[in-house]
Amino acid sequence: MAAIQERFDAIVVGAGPSGNAAAYTMAKGGLKVLQIERGEYPGSKNVQGAILYADALERIIPDFREDAPLERHVIEQRIWVIDDSSHTGMHYRSEDFNEEKPNRYTIIRAQFDRWFSSKVREAGAIVLCETTVTELVKDTKGNVIGVRTDRQGGPLLADVVVLAEGVNGLVGQRAALRDELKPENVALAVKEMHFLPQEVIESRFNLKGDGGVVIEAMGTVTKGMTGTGFLYTNRESISIGIGCIVDDIRKSGMTPYNLLDSFKQHPSIAPLIAGSEVKEYVAHLIPEGGFRAMPETQGNGWLVVGDAAHLVNAVHREGSNLAMTSGRVAGETIVWLKRRREPCTAANLAEYRKRLEDSFVLKDMRKYRKIPALLHNNRHLLNLYPRIMSTAAQTWLRVDGKAKKAKETEIIQRLRTQRGLTGMLADGWRLARAWR
């Protein structure tokens, strides 16, 4: 196997949002970039429906709205706490979200990733699909100098390798740059696309034009596990899914599919998707261990971005924006080093980490660093409180001749017996501390 003599400025492993952001930024910056994706095409291996946060993309491709495949912009967010038969909700809807440059969109990843990749190609990067990076190539001193793939020929050499390989991070793991994922740090999300005519979606959700709705649901749907259910409206389909921490699922003995099934049958959800044609069931991992689960972000000749760097804000369900931002920052750092003719050593690439620290990415990650452990150790939070809330709401709303004062007492009494005052105070305290 003769080595291909050519050397690239950078090799990007993976063509998800983070890899595309990195490859695009570097190609635009004039670097000779090779991007490698194992899927048949970019997006083919990626979960289907998602929320796109405009800001992160706008900083990379300012006029993306012109041709990116966007479904609906979000004008209404519903946060539901649900028990077995009801939901207590907070809905926020505003005309302000119908702005000229909306802030959040629903997208279908397979299409979006493909579009993003076409921009990467236009910017001048070479994109190889159906090619899996099998390992990193190191020189005698242990510096990363390229990759090997599952195709004959190679290795492929570069001054720096950007690992944008997503949550599993096998390439990084094999090169001992990071540890194996721990089951308590990843959620398994299962998701389906439900097709419905546009008019039906618009009438069910009270929408017009390109406006859309997002529902996030927590509570008894996850059967006591840490996780959430979600529903997004696309133009002609609804993405619905549920995610729970792998460790919890393993212990519960439930299958993710059962969970999704019971979520879909929930009386608050079922009517929204009734009569739809289901297509595309996917399961995918989400790194939810937070800041404390992050691996090293850079070393000699390599750096990590996106899910592979564990950059997901589980509380706000943000991932792709952290992925794109980290990818962009990585790309900018490398372009900056190249311009200064500096080598991509660990010390020089530390600039990437510094810039991440200065951005919202690591600020947010730090802010919520205690949440994963909190939820992990306090199973009742997502199970007991929704029930309490629901009965409280029902007691309060049911007009049955009871005096309001008596109702208040009943609600408080129930809280006391179900959790106890100290327990509640402790929960509140822990939550507040984790949030801070």
């Binding site: 070479i126 195709r151 020929g153 297509k279």
Partner: protein, 284 residues
Amino acid sequence: MHIVVCIKQVPDSAQIRVHPVTNTIMRQGVPTIINPYDLFALEEALRLRDWLGGEVTVLTMGPPMAEESLRKALGIGADRGVLLTDRFFAGSDTLATSYALAQAVRKIGETWGIPEIVFTGKQTIDGDTAQVGPGIARRLALQQLTYVAAVQEVDLENKTITVLRRAEGGVQELKTAIPALITMLEGTNEVRRGTIADVLRGARAELVVWNAQTAGITDVSNCGLRGSPTVVKRVFAPKPRATKAVQIEVGDRDMGTIAEDVIARLYAVQPALEAALLRTAAAY
């Protein structure tokens, strides 16, 4: 030796959805692939090239984005990609498609040498007609070899080719003259994976892009809708059966009891069945 392989970019029909109300295809987001049958043709062409030397040109007619499929073919090992694209071609049926492709093959021959063999796939998964191959053969007066399972011999000196062809009830061994057109049967070879050098070349290659005029098509009335004798008058979804399956109760019943139940139901809807079964069973 020069070989031309016709490939078509098709929507991955496994992922096509029909709009439940309007019964139109929801194309949005349906990924496209190289027609799977064409890959067997490409592989056979590459095998012959590796064996006898020469070049493989891949040809596709389609929208500009069909370029992707050409790059993919180059990544598998083809030497040159030609994209035939023009709005005049829109709406072509098989007759018009074979006309345009035949013209392009002629032009390819003029430009890089007359091909000894033109390959197509057995059929496409979207049009699914298996007519374009024979159509090209006829228009270029090439010997037509359809459903070929293997090319056994190519004699460049005497300009002959011997192939095994899938026929009704058996396999024909045919010998004919080249140039010939072969439509390749599926599953006859294992499509190779290009090397790193191939895929890099595929990603970087300059493709040849022709429109009707540059492909040497002077009379566009043979192309597209105008050149198509067939007309699609109606597109509709298959009638769903009015009733769903009658579910045989399972519950906690043991398998044997359920089986008895199934048999009883069957005999009830097909009264003649039992006697027929006894007859065939007796024949054992």
